[in-house]
């Protein structure tokens, strides 16, 4: 009798996962990206920059799987690969092999709900995105950035694919509180090993401990986070750094969602311009605390028209005379052979100033077709990026057409960007 009971229990345990999600998902993307940039032939210094148009072709694929092993225990992962015909996006610096191949394990983790819905432990590789921001994400304090080459064509800071971090995460959900702690070790290997492992994973230069606390207050969700990171003894950067952040998501009435978040990172560096005249020179400045903040809302009407607006403050960016120096330096840099430090893009594309605004209008044209128009504006010199996106969606595939344009005079951030415009025709197949 005992044996029969045991057999029944084992049979049920084996059958249990059959009711759970056990699926392979695959997505393949083909992108054609005509791009216009300003280039200067390196062997003719001082010559004016000229417009050059290139067409980049990329094929990307991702394979995902989630497998329930036992009740409350599952494993999931995503593998991504890309073949890129022109990763530099410039005809002046083509890759030696013409085709650049990349691949990564984006996520691979074992998840165990030790107490269902209450205590969750996972280990492996995972992406952690606490931010609710669309065009900037101050709370995404550990982020590798978007993979692939079509990021930002929709105005979004988060791309379709991103590589996660190897570590272990413990989440406790009690009442209105969630407390989670993610520990990530330093993972480094030799240059020889990296020639093979670069197709699997990026190295992790720091130990990281990210703690998140979430609490529901009425209809608002409030999030607090703290990140401790260090390269540890023996590393090139052994300093201990701390980042703190807080965020809020809520509704106002039936039609508006609101989000606000702020983070501040200790011990940051930025490159300052000390001379932008005949002799270009820069120096590194230590910044004790670098705050970043975002506030935004999304309004939707009954015809499914949606308007999103966000404001972003970049405490590490430049303003006033410092900003004027950066612009002046970048103008001078344009006329040289270009070997000096790129101060304008040191924090990423279109992030040199302190104040930015973003607006996006989107809506449904019919049951299959959606359209969106967006604009990011540097609120200090009123230059910007503008884009339109059309998306046609069917059951197993989507067709996406987008165009992004940079606008502004040559004494503005966008006007100094080599990028003039970029288009993307993307076919995506889901299996």
């Amino acid at each position: 009798m005992k044996r029969a009971r045991l057999l029944l229990a084992v049979s049920l345990a084996i059958l249990a996962p059959a009711f759970s999600l056990c699926a392979w998902d695959a997505q393949a993307l083909l992108d054609v990206l005509p791009t216009a940039t300003l280039v200067q032939e390196p062997w003719v210094p001082g010559d004016p920059w000229v417009q050059s148009e290139t067409t980049e072709l990329t094929a990307q694929a991702a394979l995902s799987h989630t497998q329930a092993i036992l009740e409350g225990l599952s494993v999931s992962g995503t593998l991504w690969g890309m073949a890129d015909s022109l990763p530099s996006q410039s005809p002046m610096s083509t890759p030696s092999t013409k085709i650049d191949l990349q691949s990564r394990i984006l996520e691979l983790k074992l998840v165990w709900e030790a107490i269902p819905g209450t205590l969750i432990w996972d280990a492996g590789k995972k992406v952690i995105h606490p931010s609710s921001g669309f065009f900037r994400t101050p709370l995404n304090v550990i982020s590798h950035g978007a993979l692939g080459n079509t990021a930002n064509l929709t105005g979004s800071a988060v791309g379709t694919w991103e590589e996660g971090w190897v570590g272990t995460d413990l989440t406790l959900l009690v009442g209105s509180f969630t407390i989670a702690s993610f520990l990530s070790p330093r993972l480094q290997w030799s240059g020889d090993a990296d020639r093979a492992l670069q197709y699997v994973s990026t190295q992790q230069t720091d130990y990281q401990d990210l703690t998140r606390v979430d609490v529901r207050l009425g209809s608002a969700d409030v999030r607090l986070l703290g990140l401790l990171s260090t390269g540890g003894p023996g590393s090139a950067d052994p300093d201990l750094r701390f980042t703190a952040g807080a965020g809020l998501d809520t509704n106002i009435g039936d039609a508006v969602t609101v989000r606000a978040e702020v983070s501040a990172a200790s011990s940051q560096n930025r490159v300052m311009v000390t001379s932008s005249q005949v002799q270009l020179s820069t120096s590194t400045q230590a910044v004790a605390w670098a705050p970043r903040a975002l506030a935004g809302f999304t309004w939707t009407n009954q015809d499914q028209l949606s308007v999103m607006a966000e404001y972003y403050y970049n405490g590490l960016g430049f303003i006033g005379n410092d900003y004027a120096q950066v612009i002046s330096y970048s103008q001078t840099l344009r006329g040289t052979s270009g070997a000096d430090t790129d101060v304008l893009d040191q924090f990423g594309d279109f992030s040199a100033a302190q104040h930015y605004g973003f607006v996006r209008v989107s809506g449904k044209i019919d049951d299959k077709l959606t359209a969106a128009a967006w604009s990011t504006v540097n609120l200090q010199d009123f230059s910007g990026l503008t884009g339109i996106v059309l998306t046609l969606t069917y059951d197993k595939w989507t067709l996406n057409a987008s165009l992004m344009n940079a606008w502004g005079n040559t004494d503005t951030e966008a006007g100094l960007s080599p990028l003039l415009w970029k288009a993307d025709l993307e076919a995506s197949l889901f299996l």
């Binding site: 819905g117 959900l173 969630t178 039609a255």
Partner: protein
């Protein structure tokens, strides 16, 4: 003597039943209508198919579970088909709604109106427990398709102003207490018309396995929501948190 006693008892019983019938207020009757359909901790697989006239424009398969009734209910929903939306997960906790796209880990907050205008809003109509959210303004009787029905006019309760629909007109078959048809509106504007059908006994309740929901503005546009499978899955309250969405592994009812 025995006969007299029997007659007296029968009359007394009938009198008591009559008193009982008339003692039940319209609100209590509405609660009884709800109780016949309400399954606590309902888990389901649902096919949601949208039409424009006769033409099918969209079809989704959802796995999920619902906890609670009326606007106080909470649900977790996973899109499993078609492939282009597979992996999306949605949390609906009253007016708090989060949508998690596959390959991202931060759920996006949606406004009640975004949900109301989207196809997922039809879940409101399927899940609505009327007596929790609405007061009966009037109760009359009428015929609908040759069947005698109670006709309830419902107005949202003062404390439930966040409910999706301000007014509901509900036709309930008198004999079976099965909702047959309902009109949902925000004030003066008709938003949805729902026809309940394919009643089956499942989990000890009388469930409409199919609800056909027509758009109030354009009745040519309609969505058929049909249960493929139902079951019960008790879950702790904490799963209805946005932080649980990325860890949730959806499963079918057993």
């Amino acid at each position: 003597m025995r006969t007299i006693r029997c007659v007296v008892m029968t009359v007394a019983a009938l009198f008591a039943m009559t008193i009982g019938l008339y003692a039940e207020s319209p609100q209590e009757l509405l609660a009884r209508v709800d109780a016949r359909r309400y399954v606590p901790d309902l888990s389901f697989v649902m096919q949601m198919t949208s039409f424009d006239g006769e033409k099918q424009v969209d079809s989704n398969t959802l796995w999920g579970f619902i906890n609670g009734v009326g606007s106080a209910n909470r649900s977790l929903i996973a899109f499993t088909d078609p492939a282009s939306v597979r992996g999306r997960r949605m949390l609906m906790d009253g007016n708090i709604v989060y949508l998690l796209f596959p390959k991202t880990t931060n759920p996006i907050r949606l406004s009640p109106l975004q949900v109301l205008m989207g196809q997922a809003s039809n879940g409101d109509v399927v899940r609505t427990g009327f007596s929790q959210d609405y007061d009966v303004s009037s109760l009359t009787e009428t015929d609908r398709n040759g069947v005698r029905c109670y006709l309830f006019s419902l107005a949202v309760k003062e404390g439930r102003r966040d409910a999706s629909y301000r007014k509901v007109t509900l036709w309930v078959e008198k004999d079976s207490l099965r909702p047959a048809y309902a009109e949902f509106s925000t004030g003066d504007k008709l938003l949805k018309q729902a026809t309940y059908s394919d009643y089956r006994t499942a989990l000890g309740k009388d469930l409409p396995f199919s609800v056909d929901i027509h758009d109030g503005d354009n009745p040519q546009k309609h969505t058929v929501m049909a249960y493929v499978k139902v079951g019960q899955k008790p879950v702790p309250d904490t799963v209805f948190r946005r932080d649980y969405l990325p860890s949730w592994v959806p499963e079918q009812p057993r």
